[in-house]
């Protein structure tokens, strides 16, 4: 009986003693932090994508509260959210235009393969071996490095071609860094018309390896409301994002190679691939 009582008392005493020590230590060594940091963290999306340039949402919140960062830097949150944070902290914020990623290539697998590649399944590795297996040296390699980097699953691999879903993309720019071909750009989300080709080679050469290459035929430049809306750079036409064309241009221009596409319809699979 004495043994049972003593051991119970000893264990209970030990528990109470340790609890008191920890409680006292927590009080004595309490670290004071700005309570606003936690509130701002709650107001951020919590995606921890790093698109703002800080190590996660909590770090970004700290930078906002300390005045080192602007709330609108967050690519994920809608502009109203940045406004709410600014209002809470009593600071001003700039309006920021929403951007989305565009993979400037429409050449999917079958028709464009030049040689088989059996190495590590990563675009950056494949690019080191004669620029990848596809016929076009400037197009999507198709090993999904960008899709794996995307924290929001906004990039789908379709027949070896990376396709961005505009409604899922938040424009954090993680994919831009991963592409060894520099194919991905961040374009204003309000613009839907893009040229899905990145090859600076001559039209005839491009067409030999890819049926959806831009051959700079200028049909879209002529069909546009003003010639400024599409700019020609060598053998490649680009959307002028500072004075963009309206979505109906794609229909009006009737691009013979379907390199000129609407991002939304491209993601929905409305255009035929090269292999079809």
């Amino acid at each position: 009986m004495t043994i049972i009582l003593t051991s119970i008392l000893f264990a209970a005493g030990l528990g109470v003693l340790l609890a008191v020590i920890i409680g006292a230590a927590a009080k004595a060594f309490a670290v004071e932090s700005d309570p606003r940091i936690e509130t701002v963290t709650d107001m951020l999306p919590g995606a921890n994508c790093g698109g703002c340039g800080y190590a996660g949402c909590a770090d970004f919140a700290k930078a906002i509260v300390e005045g080192r960062a602007d709330p609108s830097l967050c690519p994920v949150a809608p502009p109203e959210s940045a406004g709410r944070i600014a209002e809470y902290l009593g600071i001003t914020t700039q309006e920021k235009e929403k951007v989305i990623a565009v993979v400037r290539c429409a050449g999917d697998c079958a028709a464009t393969v030049r040689s088989p590649y059996n190495g590590v399944g990563d675009c950056r590795s494949a690019a080191l071996v004669a620029g990848g297996g596809k016929g076009c040296d400037y197009g999507c390699i198709g090993f999904a490095s960008c899709a794996r980097a995307c924290p929001f699953d906004a990039i789908e691999m379709r027949d070896g071609l990376a396709v961005v879903h505009p409604e899922l993309c938040v424009g954090c720019g993680k994919c831009v860094e991963t592409c060894p071909k520099n194919l991905i750009i961040l374009a204003p989300a309000a613009v839907d018309v893009h040229v899905y080709c990145n090859s600076p080679e001559k039209g005839a050469l491009k067409r030999k390896v890819c049926k959806t290459a831009c051959i700079a035929c200028r049909k879209c430049v002529k069909a546009a409301d003003s010639e400024e809306q599409m700019t020609i750079k060598g053998f490649l036409v680009e959307t002028n994002y500072s004075s963009p064309p309206l979505p109906d241009l794609v229909e009006k221009a009737a691009c013979p190679t379907t390199a000129l596409r609407l991002a939304t319809k491209h993601a929905a699979g409305a255009y035929e691939g090269v292999s079809k």
Partner: protein, 200 residues
């Protein structure tokens, strides 16, 4: 004494490696070995906590648990409470260390991060304390054993995470992908460490 410490050192790091021959601390061994950087963070935290835990638990064992008291004419020895007391003390110790680190060394606190509270329930830490009692080691020897066991754990973790980083790039047959190939690798690594048996 010196030769005894040397035996403990080599024995704990290589021959009786905690992970690969005693099979203690398998959870963090598989859990935080996907990346070398997190493995290093975990290793640092384990070395820190195991040294401290071995020291404190051996002191408690020597001066409280192994002593006999006379209460109401009955002789009482509290050795049977060893495991229970060690669990509570280690958990409390880790909490305390965390609180103090956060105050006085924020960089170290940041570096150890989530690993420190995770170690609270790591069986390797309790294992080191219990093995010290079993082997009847003194306070200094216990502390050395704790540190060296943790270094052995760190060695296994760093080796394994380096292997896993390489494995990520290798073509693994579909049924073996992920944890399966990880466990096979761990098994082969454990067999490699069997080569050290008989050294001490």
């Amino acid at each position: 004494m010196a030769s005894n410490v040397l035996t403990i050192t080599i024995g704990a790091i290589l021959v009786n490696n905690f992970v690969l021959s005693k099979f203690l601390g398998i959870c963090p061994f598989l859990g935080v070995s996907k990346k070398l950087s997190t493995a290093l963070g975990m290793s640092g935290a384990v070395i820190f906590v195991m040294t401290l835990a071995s020291l404190v638990t051996s002191l408690i064992y020597k001066y409280i648990l192994s002593q006999t008291f006379v209460v109401n004419g009955t002789t009482i020895n509290l050795t049977f409470l060893t495991i229970l007391v060690f669990i509570v003390v280690i958990a409390a110790l880790v909490q305390l260390v965390e609180i103090i680190l956060q105050k006085f060394s924020p960089p170290l606190y940041q570096a150890l991060g989530i690993f420190l509270p995770l170690i609270t329930t790591n069986c390797a830490v309790l294992g080191a304390a219990a093995l010290n009692v079993q082997a009847g080691r003194g306070v200094i020897e216990s502390t050395v054993f704790g540190t060296c066991s943790a270094i052995g754990f760190a060695l296994a973790l760093v080796l394994f995470s380096s292997l896993r980083e390489k494995l990520d790039l290798a073509k693994v047959p579909a049924p073996l992908q992920g944890t399966a190939i990880g466990l096979i690798t761990a098994g082969i690594l454990a067999m490699v460490f069997m080569g050290f048996s008989g050294l001490v």
